[in-house]
């Protein structure tokens, strides 16, 4: 198990290197730091001095890959690639345009992100699986058809609509919760409840339909017929046999996103004014703060790869046939 994990982590290193090279190419080769400076300072009436100053403040005044002016190891370390890209492997994300440490921002903003994302994820999982089980129980009846039709309808509505509509009805018409804001501790409950509910409703359609197809695939298998032949009730078949076996395909889709919960949701957080990583990313995109976007891309792929490894581990837990070796 340990040996497998170590190998798995080593395998994922090249992928992170690939992500790093890709972001490096995207941010520094496609457009040179000069272009970025010109963009930030305004296209017209920008002096070379101002560009140099901008680059120097942000540490972009070095050669891209090889610093031939320096000596020894500085040839490698005195470059943009080493200082801005390779340094992310030790989780050193540098500073944002307003001079704050990105690493520090990330650690303080993870909390609020998680406060929304984790409950949304857990409540959502339970809700979607129950709804899908219900549809499976009443499969091929009018109830099932209505459920599927509802799912397709909910799937076709833009995610922005749920947020805007929810804010309008619950906060503006009924005045149940504040429109936006955030507070730590128990006082924050009134701020997080609406984003969580909207987050759960937002993906009822696609998720429930997806779980329903998984359950329907399982229910056609031989062991289900055996279970019924033993005289088990339909409910017992569904909960004790089908649900357990369907866990394997469900886990593939679910475990991989658990680490990504730290990143929060871009839309929800920015609409509800939650000071999490999602709104941080949106603010960075709007302010064209490239160092923050770069850090977020790297962090996102790192968490995704962690999710893939967790998925493999979870297989061994739910499916005794799988042995990691």
């Amino acid at each position: 198990m340990i040996a497998y994990l170590i190998r798995r982590i080593l395998y994922s290193l090249p992928i992170l290197v690939g992500v790093n090279l890709l972001t490096f190419a995207l941010f520094f080769v496609v457009n040179t730091p000069d272009d970025m400076a010109r963009m930030q300072l305004g296209i017209k009436r920008v002096t070379p001095d101002a560009i140099e100053k901008w680059k120097q403040q942000r540490g972009y005044d070095k050669p891209l890959l090889l610093n031939s002016a320096a000596s020894g190891t500085d040839k490698i370390t005195g470059t943009i690639f080493w200082q801005k890209s390779a340094s992310m492997f030790v989780l050193d994300f540098g500073y944002s345009d307003d001079g704050r440490s990105i690493g520090r921002e990330i650690t303080t903003r993870m909390g609020p992100s998680l406060a929304i994302a984790l409950p949304t994820f857990l409540i959502g999982l339970v809700a979607y699986v129950s709804f899908a089980l219900l549809m499976t129980l009443f499969r091929a009846t009018a109830l099932d058809m209505a459920g599927v039709a509802l799912c397709v309808l909910l799937m076709s509505v833009s995610g922005l609509f749920y947020i805007i509509g929810g804010q309008f009805v619950v906060s503006k018409l009924w005045h149940l919760v504040p429109i936006s804001g955030y507070d730590g501790g128990m006082g924050g409950f009134k701020f997080v409840v609406l984003p969580i509910v909207i987050g759960v409703i937002g993906s009822v359609g696609s998720s429930s339909r997806w779980y329903r197809t998984i359950f329907l695939e399982e229910i056609g298998k031989d062991y289900v017929r055996t279970a019924r032949a033993k005289g088990l009730s339909e409910l017992a078949v569904l909960f004790r046999h089908v649900l357990k076996n369907a866990m394997i395909p469900i886990l593939t889709g679910v475990v991989v996103i658990i680490p990504l919960l730290f990143m929060g949701s871009l839309l929800t957080e920015s609409f509800f004014g939650i000071p999490g990583l999602g709104s941080y990313t949106i603010d960075a995109i709007n302010a064209q703060d490239f160092s923050v976007v770069r850090a977020m891309v790297f962090l996102g792929s790192l968490l995704y790869i962690v999710g893939l490894i967790l998925t493999d581990i979870s297989y061994t837990i739910v499916d005794p046939r799988v042995r990691l070796s």
């Binding site: 992928i15 992500v19 941010f27 296209i43 995109i285």
Partner: protein
């Protein structure tokens, strides 16, 4: 009035797609076995009604794709100069909607502006009242007549539309029946759509049916213009995903070895970056390139258009990995089958096996995944525009409409119609696409049972 046709990049790609679509339809028509699943789609009433709705959107989108520039009045030196404004045939058709802009917000079917304004009368007294609109309902002498007039216009419009619909229905009834298409559902849908169009056209002649936005533009016009953007995002993206996924997927599955390793590495790297972030990064960088090279573009429309095409490319680059993985898996399965081994034993070259034997047998996966992706892409456009990495802010799209209207959420009383129109049009488009995609999947996916044979 003379004009010069303008071919924007996205127009060229749309026509390329249209040609490809017509060519493949012609190819399929010749071959009974390829036609069979489509016949199954055609028996489903939900799918056919969705297709009818989609084709309405498609017609609007295509009309909006034929662009031209009008010549400005003759210059003194005799040279013709063309207007920097790029128009489309669709713009020409709905000229009143485009040109009749009000001062600012007005509610759907309103005759006055949405906010009170101070005006002074002849004797110099200042009055605060809702000023009348410049175009909406100007034929009315009294605001009180509006309800009756709206009702009358709506009813007559719907009636005329219904007549036209009935004519179409009776004209095509026999033709439809011969093909075994779901007659009743199609007829009802045609009647409803034509009545709705008739009603809207007749009302739009005198009112702003869906109101006006902040700068007084007609919301109905904006919604109809957004259709093209949505359709382009949903379809042009496939021009990137399809070749990448198809070529790399079957090459990886069939050739295996180091080719497989490299391709797997590339798509794992790409798919491990959260797609919104990758798109955001790429769009930000593209914006830098566009902003630092203003000399590339002769009109603002061509700049906005290039950004749209780039956005499609970027969406394509981030979304081919899923399909590629599916195709690789399927090819791995297919290459062990007897008929492939027979072809190999006969000494057929790898390239020929791939194109003749593997590719046709994975096409159903390609088709299903492309049709299923369409609605997701239309929805993604709105979200990306909100995040600030979508289409150019000057380009009319559902995303930019929602984004502009969102700022008015806090206004009292609320300006709701622009949001409602954008979400409504998007819902109809995406719902029709989803329902059609489901029917296509059911008809093409061999895992679904197909005991009934359609002839």
């Amino acid at each position: 009035m003379s004009f010069v046709p303008v071919m924007l990049w996205s127009d060229a790609l749309v026509f390329l797609l249209l040609l490809a679509g017509i060519a493949s339809a012609w190819y399929v028509r010749q071959r009974e076995h390829l036609l069979l699943p489509w016949r199954r789609v055609a028996t489903s009433s939900v799918a056919m009604v969705s297709l009818l709705v989609l084709s309405f959107f498609l017609v609007v989108g295509l009309l909006d794709t034929l662009h031209y520039r009008v010549a400005l009045p003759e210059q003194s030196n005799g040279k013709t100069v063309y207007s920097p404004e790029v128009l489309s045939v669709f713009d020409k058709l709905v000229t009143p909607l485009r040109a009749q802009t009000e001062k600012t917000y007005s509610a759907p079917l309103a005759v006055t502006l949405y906010a009170k304004e101070s005006t002074s009368d002849a004797s110099g007294n200042i009055l605060r009242d809702y000023p009348r609109l410049r175009y909406g309902g100007v034929h009315l002498t009294d605001e009180q007549q509006r309800d009756g007039d709206v009702l009358w216009r709506g009813l007559t419009g719907a009636l005329v539309g219904l007549m036209v619909g009935l004519a179409i229905v009776f004209g095509s009834k026999r033709w439809l029946a011969q093909r075994g298409w779901p007659l009743r559902a199609l007829l009802i849908a045609t009647l409803i759509i034509s009545a709705l169009i008739g009603m809207t056209v007749n009302l739009a002649a005198a009112y702003h049916v869906l109101g006006t936005d902040k700068v007084g533009q007609d919301v109905l016009y904006l919604s109809l213009k957004s259709i093209r953007t949505g359709l382009i995002i949903g379809t042009v993206t496939t021009l990137v995903t399809l070749p990448l996924a198809l070529l790399l997927g079957i090459a990886a599955g069939y050739l295996r070895g180091w080719v497989d390793d490299v391709i797997q590495y590339v798509y794992t790297v790409l798919s491990s970056i959260p797609s919104v972030l990758l798109i955001a990064a790429a769009v930000l960088m593209m914006q830098v390139t566009i902003d630092t090279h203003p000399q590339w573009f002769d009109t603002s429309a061509s700049r906005a258009d290039l950004r749209l095409v780039f956005l499609c490319m970027i969406l394509g680059v981030t979304s081919w990995t899923g399909l590629c993985r599916l195709l690789r898996g399927e090819t791995l399965k297919l290459r062990e089958l007897e008929y492939i081994q027979a072809a190999q034993a006969f000494g057929v070259s790898s390239f020929r096996i791939l194109t003749r034997h593997i590719m046709p047998n994975v096409m159903h996966i390609v088709l299903i995944s492309l049709v299923m992706d369409f609605s997701g892409l239309v929805l993604a456009e709105a979200v990306l525009s909100y995040v600030g990495v979508g289409v150019d802010p000057s380009m009319i799209s559902f995303g930019t409409m929602i984004n502009a209207a969102r700022l008015e959420m806090g206004r009292e009383p609320m300006v709701w119609w622009a949001l409602a129109a954008a979400f409504g049009f998007m819902l109809v488009l995406v719902l029709a696409a989803n329902l059609f995609a489901d029917a296509v999947r059911d008809a093409f996916d061999p895992r679904f049972n197909r005991t009934e044979v359609v002839t």
